[in-house]
Symmetry: C2
Subunit: 218 residues, 2 copies
DNA sequence: AATTTATTTGACTCAAGGTTCAAATTTATA
DNA sequence: TATAAATTTGAACCTTGAGTCAAATAAATT
């Protein structure tokens, strides 16, 4: 007989399954970041979770799927950051305004970018989230999807930069090159940052924002 | 009977061998940059050179050796850049001087850095040289060596930045973070740059230097 | 306690791709 | 042209690690 308890239990099952699956992906993702996708075997991934290789396949179809989900997880987190700042900045999103036209509550493009960039750095240093580079290990469909997600994020960041150029807070010049420059810092961060090091995410983000800001402001 | 001709011929043999070996490594290096080390098979490497897989082993011990030499080749080129600028700047290398003490012919730390950075960008865009990230696919000895070479370069760049801070051309702050930031741009460049694209190395380097410069100058 | 369902495992298969090697081919030398 | 040395190849071998599956264990349900 079905009771509401059954449903709750079933739901709990699903939740636990989802949590474990997420744990698999996050743990693997971290290993991928440190050692690289191909230098991380399924056995290793399993062992760090106290499981055996075969058990992983209960949560995941493929090793490739783990890589794919790792990417998606990161891009979801980055999208969330962008979304937060976009809503915090709703007013001057659609209309292009010169600095003098900006009311006090609105952000300049530069400030907007600084906020986003700070949150990106904090994301990569303080959450388990990491920006993986191994896109070419994904096959057709999956690779295309990941690249699409990346492009969307770059588009949004590019939008912010261009808005900043419009409102006069960011100096002119090829906006894509602006973006490439500081996104490089973000990607490189993944390579050298170690969570246990002396540098905290806060310190890094402040320093990076100083460079970013001076580098592109008018 | 031995003649001077024999010697010349033998020398030519060696030279041709060295050239072909270099071609193998450069071609492979380029593929590694685009598709990644593990996504590039020996067969593919051979095929792009019009050879068969087995022939590669006449020029090279391992696939791993190819990766190693790729790294070394890049670091050699970067060292050469650093060396050029160091000799061009011999005067204020040992002594720390304030800006007012610099004679006209000497470079500020900032100018020195700009020059080096420009040449790095040109190197990565115009020569076949590429900054590979796949260090973890190298075993023990080799990996250690590559990391040592990378550290030496970072040390030199760090030195330039610190000199710039001393002579007042570069603003204070954690010099390592300065370096991490703009070296990120360099590494990321490898991921997105395509030689056939609309952006030339010259354009990129000018733009990047503008950001670098404004980002770190006092 | 018995039974069903979810989770984990050990032992295996299988393919991919790096590596080897004796033989073939090409190139240089006498 | 005959011989030797350098270069390339085809056909194997071998290792690694991903993926499978029936059976075992654990957890929940009756």
């Amino acid at each position: 007989m079905n009771t509401s308890l059954d449903i709750k239990q079933a739901f709990d099952r699903e939740r636990q399954f989802a949590e474990k699956r997420r744990a698999v992906i996050q743990s693997a993702s971290s290993a991928f970041r440190r050692r690289g996708y191909h230098n991380t075997s399924m056995v290793e991934i399993a062992k760090t979770l106290g499981l055996t290789k075969a058990a992983l396949y209960y949560y995941v179809k493929n090793k490739e799927e783990i890589l794919y989900e790792s990417h998606i997880m990161t891009y979801d987190a980055m999208d969330a950051v962008l979304k937060t700042w976009r809503s915090r900045n709703k007013m001057n999103e659609t209309v292009n305004k010169t600095p003098s036209e900006l009311s006090g509550s609105e952000l300049t493009g530069l400030n907007h970018l600084e906020g986003v960039f700070r949150d990106f750095v904090l994301l990569l240093t303080q959450s388990g989230v990491s920006l993986l580079t191994d896109v070419d290990s994904l096959g057709g469909e999956w690779k295309a999807n990941v690249l699409k997600r990346r492009q969307i994020i770059e588009k949004h960041v590019l939008r912010i930069v261009k808005d900043g150029q419009k409102d006069g807070s960011i100096r002119t010049g090829d906006a894509r090159l602006h973006v490439f420059f500081f996104m490089g810092a973000l990607n490189w961060l993944n390579a050298w940052y170690e969570a246990d090091g002396r540098l905290t995410g806060a310190v890094i983000s402040e320093h990076f924002i100083a460079q970013l800001s001076r580098g592109i402001q008018v």
